[in-house]
Amino acid sequence: MAGTLAILRRELAGYFTSPLAYVFITIFLMLSGALTFYLGGFFQRGQADLQAFFLFHPWLYLFLIPAVAMRLWAEERKTGTIEFLMTLPVSTAQAVAGKFLAAWAFAGIALSLTFPIWITVNVLGSPDNGVILATYLGSWLMAGSYLAIGACLSAVTRNQVIAFVLAAAVCFVFNLAGIELVQNFLRAWTPGFFADAVGSFSFLSNYQAISQGVIDLRHLLFFGSLIGIALLINALVVDLRKGV
């Protein structure tokens, strides 16, 4: 625990000493704002809710989150600092958890900096703030899942670009798993229960369910178990490739 916290602190502080983090936050905030008002048609809808804002998160994360995750392990391996990390008195599991939590906290900070839109919609009308809170939580959980997958794949390679492309591709598949096109295709070729299972592993459908304002234990468990398994695999890969 202490080891995890130490890594978490070191990593999180590291984010804010490089301009990269600020660039990331700026791009995220500008894009999410612009999408809300231009593609999302916030004023055209005329409704006091944040649907137009949250709608684009799965797609924004698709290329922003792998960009955060790609350097988590690939960079350490490339620069050789992984050797140093492994000499510290922390286990692989603690290092993996610490790095992930730092990145997740960073994503949380970026997400929470969108608060002006929440204030805006409260000034303009009277939205259902419970629904907004739930959707923020769902969005953050989804970001965590993207991150865990990205971190895991970042450990596979020492090339950050490859790590980015792999993570974006896998997350894209997880996003699409629930849509009609994929489901129809699966049902034509595989037994029904398999298509059902794939459908229920869609980021989109789990996120949409939470964004109705009701947090179901099953959706929490889905995101939680996904993060847990991805990190477990992450630790195994790091261990496996020690010294490779």
Binding site: T17, P19, Y22, T26, L29, M30, G33, T36, F37, F43, G46, Q47, A48, D49, L113, T114, P116, I117, T120, V123, L124, G125, D128, G130, V131, A134, G178, I179, E180, Q183, N184, R187, G192, F193, A195, D196, A197, G199, S200, F201, S202, S205, A209, Q212, G213, V214, I215, D216, L217, R218, F222, S225, L226, I229, L232, I233, L236, V237, D239, L240
Partner: protein, 645 residues
């Protein structure tokens, strides 16, 4: 990893572990999806996903077991995750109902495959099939219910768009099956609630909603007489027009006998005006005809005026002087929760009620009854003459009237207390002349109420028109009405309350889809008022100038005398005035759009650029501080090195 393993074994073990972890993940999630069903935290403001007390009460009070048959085509769930999610929720909710009813509900689930006996059964029980675009097969997603005495009810198709009303729909079905004896409501009036096959008008949607809760009978006066039997629990007066004296007398006596009345009485019925359009010259007479009875109940509704309310006005698109404008139409009101009485069960749970050209209800001096307002307009309300909206009303001119503050008007009220007859001389002559037993009629006459009268009066009859309270949606080729206002809930609540059965009142009024951007609306409204008034003044100037020019030209033509130089000058001045006024009008119209645009641009600017700018400034600050600190430490390091040297 232990030291004893070779590198190859270690790799193989790790790969196996990774595979195992993936399998575990899939298995775990399939297990949780199927076993954990009701563990959830409902964060919505109105607890839309948590069963209400009203539902629990209805479920606990089922005397004889009900059978519910849930039909769900697997094909629908499989091909469409949107419906899949909704279907899962409906099924879980039904299982929860079954559990809470403790034996009161038997739930059966069917998958009606094409050409199966289940499909025939589903269709026979009143379900609607929908054709899937993808496969072309017909799918079903509905519910039927039966009680021990073979009454039945059905939800033909669960529309995900009505997800917020799901609990209400299910509980209503269960409630109706558990309580098959509906209160009897008699309807009297000119509103075409049942439609008219001759004119091609369809029945109003509100009628079928009312029939779900009440046994409706439609009364008509035969000659002079009108029979309201004692079985009738509530009399619904739906814009009574053209009634003979005998019918008014029957209403009067019904109230005195303790009968309860919900009266929709309108100084101007838009619905009837529209229907009678072709005959021309329609005049709403409801408020005037009912005046003597209203007086006896201690009320008055001015038949000549309706209420215009600037703060509650709805937006309309209209053609004004050849131009298409979107503006506030002050006779059409959308009254939010703050305008509805929060303490009365009839209105307490409602969110918004829409009224069109409603009248104002006032208590008469010295009335023996108590008037409790249920719906009140805003303080910016003014009376508007019915004649002003009768033919091609001008929304802009009406809005321009609001120069100063007005005063709130009561649009709907509950009236209680002792009342006296409106016919102090006994039954009307016309009735006595045609009656078989005039003496008996005279004998039965009541001159004052036996107990306290209990009435609800709404000074609008258009509130039940489909387009006033619902938005039509087309789904799979089926018409679906989504409520945008609680108008029908208001009427059902009032009838429920008057008939003494209030089981479902707490469920109504939850979950309207509409949450408007009120601030934008307010700004638009204020800007509009300002500009519309200016516009109105300019338009009047233009019209006057045009008239004056036309007059001068006509004079010239008629007399054949050429005008003097002064007259010519006057004409030229008028023309330039006209051009100037037209320019001003354009400016004003542009300014109206600009004001609204400014607010939107400001909101966009703050949200798109605000936080990114703050982030950039912070980043610059942090990086500058770090650089300075680094430089300082480098300097002090160098100094120290120098000193030691």
């Amino acid at each position: 990893m232990s030291k004893g393993l070779t590198s190859a074994t270690r790799n193989r073990l790790a790969l196996a572990a990774i595979l195992l972890a993936m399998v575990l993940f899939v298995a775990f999630n399939i297990l949780t999806k199927t076993t954990l069903t009701q563990t959830r935290l409902d964060l919505t403001e109105q607890r839309l996903f948590t069963l209400s007390e009203g539902t629990r009460k209805v479920l606990a009070e089922i005397d004889e077991p009900l059978t519910l048959r849930f039909y769900l085509s697997k094909a629908l769930v499989e091909t469409n995750p949107y419906y899949g999610n909704h279907a899962r929720r409906v099924e879980e909710l039904l299982r929860e109902y079954e559990r809470l009813a403790g034996g009161g509900i038997r739930l059966q689930v069917f998958d009606p495959e094409p050409f199966s006996p289940e499909e025939d059964q589903a269709v026979a029980e009143g379900l609607q099939g929908a054709a899937l675009a993808a496969g072309g097969s017909v799918v079903y997603f509905g519910l039927t219910g039966f009680n021990a005495t073979d009454d039945s009810d059905a939800i033909p198709f669960f529309q995900p768009e009505r997800a917020a009303f799901l609990e209400y729909d299910l509980t209503r079905l269960v409630h109706n099956l558990a309580n098959p004896d509906k209160p009897r409501v008699a309807v009297l009036g000119a509103l075409p609630l049942r439609g008219n096959p001759l004119t091609g008008f369809r029945p109003w949607l509100a009628t079928s909603s009312l029939e779900q809760f009440f046994e409706l009978s439609f009364l008509e006066a035969s000659g002079e007489a009108l029979e309201i039997d004692d079985e009738v629990e509530v009399l619904l007066l739906a814009q009574p027009e053209g009634l003979p004296q005998g019918a008014l007398y029957a209403i009067d006596q019904f109230v005195l006998r303790g009968g309860r009345v919900l009266a929709l009485i309108d100084p101007w019925s838009e619905a009837l005006a529209e229907i009678n359009q072709r005959s021309g010259g329609y005049v709403s007479t409801g408020a005037a005809e009912m005046a003597p009875l209203l007086a006896a109940w201690g009320l008055e509704i001015d038949p000549e005026t309706i209420v215009g309310d600037r703060l509650s006005a709805r937006k309309v698109a209209a053609r004004v002087r050849g131009r298409q404008v979107v503006t506030e139409y002050v006779p059409w009101l959308s009254l939010g929760a703050e305008r509805l009485a929060g303490a009365d069960t009839v209105t307490a749970e409602l969110q918004v009620v829409n009224l069109n050209a409603a009248g104002a209800i006032a208590a008469r001096e010295g009335a023996t009854t108590t008037l409790e307002p249920l719906i009140t307009s805003s303080e910016q309300s003014l009376p508007i003459e019915v004649s002003e909206i009768q033919v091609a009303p001008d929304p802009v001119a009406l809005l321009a009237k609001f120069l100063g503050p007005g005063e709130p008007k009561v649009l709907a009220a509950r009236v209680t207390g002792a009342v006296e007859t409106a016919f102090p001389d006994g039954p009307p002559e016309a009735l006595l002349e045609t009656a078989e037993d005039a003496e008996a009629l005279k004998q039965a006459h009541l001159s004052e109420s036996e107990g306290a009268a209990n009435l609800i009066v709404i000074a609008d009859s258009d509130l039940l028109v489909d387009s006033v309270w619902s938005r039509a949606d087309n789904l799979f080729g089926q018409q679906l009405a989504l409520p945008i206002a609680n108008n029908v809930d208001l009427v059902v609540n009032a009838l429920d309350n008057l008939s003494g059965s209030e089981g479902l009142i707490s469920l109504r009024g939850r979950a309207l889809v509409d949450r408007p951007l009120t601030l934008i609306q307010d700004i638009q409204r204020d800007a509009e008022l300002e500009y519309r008034q200016q516009e109105q003044a300019i338009v009047e100037r233009i019209e006057k100038a045009e008239e004056e020019i036309a007059r001068l030209q006509q004079e010239e033509q008629a007399t054949g005398i050429l005008q003097s130089a002064e007259a010519d000058q006057a004409l030229a001045k008028l023309r330039s005035d006209l051009i100037q006024a037209r320019r001003e009008l354009r400016d004003v119209q542009r300014a109206l759009r600009r004001d609204i645009g400014e607010v939107e641009a400001w909101v966009k600017g703050v949200n798109i650029w605000g936080m990114p700018l703050v982030t950039v400034v912070i980043a610059a600050g942090v990086l500058w501080l770090r650089r300075r600190r680094a430089a300082r430490s480098a300097r002090s390091g160098a100094a120290r090195a120098e000193a030691t040297a």
